[in-house]
């Protein structure tokens, strides 16, 4: 019974998100299923907690029956609308590209899919067997889940001094009472389904998020024109990143969700800039809006899309001027605003620029010495310079994506090299996790550059060889 309840709890947000994405994604879209269910999973995992918050705000508390009924009703509406649309428009049957692959390519794809399946099974079993393990999970994520589950309501969490002033009456406290509630509510949801506190099964959404990210990544690559073998290979690269795998196995942190949601947004943004289909813009904006619901720094990641939109609508020179002006405005605000002003969950005082050269070795080690990203750091070192010399690649084809990611990388470097957070790189306590927020987007860019390189190579190879 608990198994069925757990499965239902895990599938409901996926179903909810998937059925609504089914309405958004046009019928004849390449890799449609991967996009619908990948993004459906990611959006559903954020939307369901939002629904729970709404119901709690309406005085209904955190209740399994109410949440299920509401979610199923919304899913039903989407399903009916989807059926109506399907009846109205018939899509032309598409020949699966699988049949056009050579035997070697099929063998490669099968091998990679097998490796992915093994990874998913491995990580899934770790979640099911292992009790809650990592540090922050028991310090400020699952703490809220535990209390909210027991009380059946979102009892407020406040800072320590406020808790003391109020004598703890009607309030609780932990290390970060102001952290977003999405991840904690997902854990509550899973426990509500099971009917009792189970700190192993409540982490299964991490596996779902991981799988959803893989599907979304694959779908966006196919939509961007990557061949099936390339898309499969890069999806395998993404899903085999060790630190990402660790965040699934030792579930309880929000960083995996952050990387998935931000990565999903920038990928959709890139394809919107290429294809100018409104549904992609809506998808990108939806996921960007979800970023702050996952982690406080999601605000910053969402804002990195602003330079991308700037280059999408303006000529490059004008866009550059506007971005520079924007940077100056940000600098001015940082100087003018009071130090106690909170930005992305941190007082401005902690973000005051102070050069931390000692953070640089930690940064370099975490990308190129440690095995957090396998050979991902080296892939960036190879492909980004190649992308810069390929005519029109970075400067035209991938300008928006590059603008967003370059802004994000700039913010990342600023945080560790020029603020009081340099310790997070020196002792590796935070740098790897923030790299995970950027990893899907950066790997997506690498995949595009590689596919571009391959295409240009094929054109050159088609020219008659001269030899000596």
């Amino acid at each position: 019974m608990e198994t069925l309840a757990t499965l239902f709890a895990l599938l409901l947000p996926v179903l909810l998100g998937g059925l609504w994405l089914n309405l958004l994604v046009p019928a004849a879209t390449p890799a449609r299923s991967a996009l619908v269910w990948g993004y459906g999973c990611l959006t559903g995992l954020v939307l369901l907690p939002l629904l729970m918050r709404l119901l709690a705000h309406l005085g209904l508390g955190l209740d399994f029956a109410y949440t299920t009924a509401t979610a199923l009703a919304l899913a039903l509406v989407a399903a009916l609308a989807g059926l109506a649309r399907r009846g109205a428009a018939r899509q032309a049957p598409q020949t699966p590209q699988w049949r056009t692959l050579t035997t070697a390519q099929r063998a490669l794809c099968a091998l990679l899919l097998g490796l992915i399946a093994l990874r998913l099974l491995n990580l899934g079993l770790e979640i099911i067997w292992r009790p809650l393990y990592p540090w922050d999970a028991t310090m400020h994520w699952a703490t809220k889940a535990r209390v909210w589950f027991e009380y059946g309501d979102m009892v407020p969490f406040v800072a320590h001094d406020q808790w003391l002033q109020r004598g703890g009456e009607g309030v609780f406290t932990d290390r970060h009472p102001d952290y977003p509630q999405t991840v904690s509510l997902l854990q509550v949801w899973m426990n509500l389904a099971g009917g009792h506190w189970n700190e192993s099964l409540m982490n299964l959404p991490w596996l779902a998020c991981f799988a959803g990210l893989g599907l979304a990544f694959f779908g966006q690559l196919r939509l961007a024109g990557a061949g099936l073998p390339t898309a499969t290979a890069f999806s395998y690269l993404l899903l085999s990143l060790p630190l990402m795998n660790t965040h699934v196995a030792l579930a309880g942190y929000a960083d995996l969700f952050m990387g998935a949601v931000y990565g999903g947004s920038v990928m959709a943004l890139h394809n919107w800039m290429r294809l100018r289909r409104n549904w992609l813009l809506a998808l990108s904006l939806l996921l960007a809006a979800m970023c702050p619901l996952v982690k406080n720094e999601g605000v910053i990641w969402a804002l990195t899309l602003v330079p991308a939109f700037t280059v999408a609508f303006l000529a490059r020179r004008d866009a550059a001027k506007l971005v520079l002006l924007g940077a100056l405005v940000v600098l001015l605000l940082a100087l003018v605003l009071p130090e106690s002003t909170v930005v992305a969950g941190h007082p401005l005082q902690r973000l005051t620029p102070t050069f931390n050269p000692q953070a640089l070795p930690g940064l370099v080690k975490s990308i190129w010495l440690h095995d957090n990203w396998h050979l991902g750091g080296y892939l960036l070192l190879m492909l980004v310079p190649l992308g810069l010399v390929m005519p029109g690649a970075i400067t035209r084809s991938y300008l928006g994506l590059t603008a967003a990611l370059a802004t994000a990388v700039g913010a990342f470097l600023f945080l560790f090299l020029f603020t009081g957070f340099g310790w997070g790189a020196t002792n590796f306590a935070a740098v790897g996790r923030l790299e995970m927020h950027l990893a899907p987007g950066l790997l997506f860019l690498c995949a595009l550059l590689f596919e571009d390189l391959r295409r240009r190579g094929r054109i050159l190879a088609a020219a008659p060889p001269t030899g000596l």
Partner: protein
Amino acid sequence: MLRTTLLSMLLGMAGLLLVLAVAFSSSDGGIAPISLDTQDTPGDASSAKGLQVTLNSRGIAAVSLPVTGLAARDYPYLHIGLSDFSDKLRMALAWEHSGEETAQVLPMKARPRESLWIATHEIDRWRLQLEGLRLVFFGAPGQTLRVQDFSLHPAGLGRQLHAMLDDLGSFVPWRPGNINSHSAVTKTSPFYPAPLFALLLACCLSGFALVSLLDYLRGKCAAPNWTAAGLVFLLCWVGLDAVWQYKLLRQLGETRADFAGKSREEKLLAGPDAELYAFVARARALMSPADARVFVSSSDNYTGLRGAYYLYPFNAYWKKDGHELPHPAFLRRGDYIMVLQPASLRVARRRGMAFSADGSFPVEVLLASQGRQLLRVL
């Protein structure tokens, strides 16, 4: 494309071996290995080979290598051979520097294995002259194992390769820091895996460049086959990922052995916080009402945060950094305080008083066990 890929990989692997050979082929200078005599075990009537070792009542045993005034730099490799050992066995190396009394101890985090080569030149305290090298075992009292080999070796390419391969195949269970970073190395690792495979990649891509150039010169192609280059990269990645997947599977085996089939309570009593959780579980049974305030006093962050977590949904207060407890003026009659050592709060049980950094207040000790206490404020 497959031909180009295969040739590139073969050339790359040959290139990597060449690089390693150049980097590590130093002469042993006629230095002979030093080995422990594992032939005779007093009182051991069995026909099994190796020195039988039995852990004492404290679960500790050691074997010593007879070294005096040994120049550390002459022996950059150490080999350990074991058999008939438990998976739960732990090991450490211990030695002294000549003229110093303080023992240098290096716990070995990786799980034991039948044959293990260690690059001692990677140990930062492996220097100067060494005295009394010991291999120390930790485990259950009465546990036995056999030491097949415990030896020191001079420099050599073969030993370096052994050490590298053994390190890649070694397994260290999850640690809390893994959520932040996966270094993939221990204190005795001779190489970081990612740069090692990046070096392999560089050699393979160099091979790819050579093959492509030859093909171009022979008129077989007008441009490099980037698909082949991608395949080379993918194969190098798969190789590195195979090491990671192996470690994940080993970890899964341990996780299964420790937790599979257990209830939540049983898992927590089998996990790394077993003693702490057992104490908190007993303490919870003594506390009421359900929303009672509980202050956690501990100067160890891990112990404090875990203690607080296990106390929820009691109204737990634990503050990282700064004073462990608020000023006594904030405490009320009926509040609970859980003291988890190490802690700065001092309790005079007979006097019924507790002493914090900000003052004292009357308490009653409800539970005390192995440095942990549950107090009620009076």
